[in-house]
């Protein structure tokens, strides 16, 4: 089968690989119809994630058709069209029993500090991902769900991560009626968090980024006020000014390890790998939220230390909440919101690439060219 293969930082190509096998009785093999590239994939692509091996296939956002099932699979049949949450999880361990699917203890031998994720390095379990024609889906009875027939493929593929994560990010913010919410990052995760904040009763939603085309999307799609941090000498002060010098009630970090805004922090983290992630957006969140406020961290950081301003967080009495998203847990409610048009994941899709063009797709998304917000990969095309 053809699959995207990592060759080193900023480099990948398409190769012919042996097709995945049923390796466990509850495995399924899924033929991928549509996949997406996530902001998280960029951290791998840039070589930030420890134990990212040459020859592995990325991709944790995908939908497709069940091609083969293991002997113990009860809930799926060959031919079913399924959407697969980005979490690999067992459904029965201590964490899964508490709904913490992202923290499953039975699927990642390489690390206890993170659960299992498709196509996300050996640090997340060493599973090949869905930017390929076929993919192995462990615990097929647990994660995948049939795509409702009213749902578009674009909505379905975005619900496997970005849309669910944005919604989850707003929830962790514990937003109350009338709260002022600042969302750092106007990528797919940030845009979905901004839309979701309104559902939870936010009184104001402010989105911060430096890419004007994305801020435009935040205004149009998420009805948000926007701040282009490139136009502010000190964005924290500007945000204070906008919020009566108290600060916002809730801040959501939807940026993560490669945050811009400080040349030194960015280069130290993203280019030289001297820290687990550039904490610029997280520090802005800590400093701009009001005392006693809540910070929800959806942005991903590596396992090494980062220069986070913990003293400020402590002295301000902040609540910091964070996790990888427990995707399937969001679905029943989120499906209703998508059906009602309250959340519009598909509206973020800007590009489609065939599998053969995937190197270009990564470059365009990584360098934020051509107004790119969310690129999809169509393995069957090209």
């Amino acid at each position: 089968m053809r699959a995207m293969v990592y060759r080193g930082p900023y480099r990948l190509r398409v190769e012919e690989k042996p097709p995945p096998r049923i390796e466990h009785p509850n495995d399924a093999i899924v033929r991928v119809e549509l996949a997406a590239i996530c902001g998280s994939d960029l951290h791998l692509y840039h070589g930030l994630m420890p134990d990212t091996r040459v020859g592995t296939t990325f991709g944790h956002e995908f939908i497709g058709v069940v091609e083969q099932v293991g002997p113990s699979v009860e809930n799926l049949r060959v031919g079913d069209r399924v959407m697969v949450p980005f979490n690999v999880y067992c459904g029965s361990c201590y964490y899964c029993a508490r709904g913490l699917y992202a923290n499953c203890h039975n699927v990642n031998p390489n690390a206890t500090a993170v659960g299992g994720i498709y196509g996300y390095s050996h640090t997340c379990g060493g599973y090949d991902g869905g930017q390929a024609e076929l993919v192995r889906v462990p615990f097929a009875d647990v994660g995948p769900a049939p795509i409702p027939e009213w749902m578009s493929d674009e909505d379905a593929v975005l619900l496997t991560d970005a849309a669910s994560t944005g919604y989850f990010g707003a929830q962790l913010g514990e937003i109350g009626e009338g709260d002022a919410v600042v969302v750092f990052g106007a990528g797919p995760v940030g845009l979905m968090a901004a839309q979701s904040a309104w559902l939870m009763g936010a009184g104001r939603v402010i989105v911060v980024d430096h890419l004007e085309y994305r801020l435009e999307k935040a205004r149009e799609l998420a009805h948000a006020e926007t701040v282009n941090f490139a136009e502010h000498r000190d964005v924290v002060v500007s945000l204070k000014r906008m919020t009566d010098y108290l600060g916002a009630d809730v801040a959501i970090d939807a940026v993560g390890a490669e945050a811009d805004g400080s040349f030194l922090q960015h280069v130290a983290a993203a280019k030289l790998k001297l820290q687990g992630g550039s904490p610029v957006a997280l520090n802005w969140a800590i400093d701009s939220v009001r005392k006693g406020g809540t910070i929800s961290v959806m942005g991903a950081y590596g396992p090494i230390f980062s220069a986070v301003k913990f003293g400020d967080a402590m002295n301000k009495g902040l609540t910091l909440r964070m996790n990888q998203c427990h995707v399937k847990r969001q679905w029943p409610r989120l499906f209703e919101h998508v059906r009602n048009g309250y959340i519009t994941p598909a509206a973020m899709v800007t590009h489609r690439f065939g599998l053969d063009e995937i190197a270009e797709a990564y470059h365009v998304f990584s360098a934020k060219l051509d107004g790119c917000i969310k690129p999809l990969i169509v393995p069957g095309a090209g």
Binding site: R7, E74, S92, D141, Q171, G203, I304, H337, N340, A367
Partner: protein
Amino acid sequence: MPHTPYTPDRPPMPESPEQLRARIPGWGADLDPKDRPAVPQERHEPEGTGARRRGFPERQPEERPRERSIEHGTLTPVFGTSAPLRGLSGVVRRYAYRRFGEGRAAHWLLLIAADRVDVVESTVLDAVRGRPDNLIAETGVRGELTHHGWSSRVGAGRVDVRHEALDPLIVAGPWVLAGLGVVAGVRALVRRARGR
């Protein structure tokens, strides 16, 4: 700067809930925390997947020794089998897993070092196997031409343009350094062979 008195009240909402409801589709649909899926935190997996009934999962066969974190009490019953350890990078990775827990910087720094070794090993190996890497195609820089590299950046006020110039250095730099190292090494050997 206008004078901002600090009072016990929270700042008024710029718009009333009615106005927000009229303007924003779905405003307040999840106002009641009970409607939010992550509440309460300790909620058990809805029955129906069969996973809880079946209990501890059957073990996937360990066809080759699988490296694992020493913070795990056992090999997890299910694991990925992509890109098994091999070569020098494999030796370094195996050592990182066996020797250091996840709380130690050495664990992760060794894994990152092994990633770099892996790139060199794999590039050489595939060149020998007749599937050499095509740096231009693999970096996808063609996207600069097909997707408006210039106009996407110039005049857009983006801050990332400043460090993007470093990217080619990050990609090509190690190869240039390795090349210079090889040249210097060969020179030194030649000099020694000639008895200086």
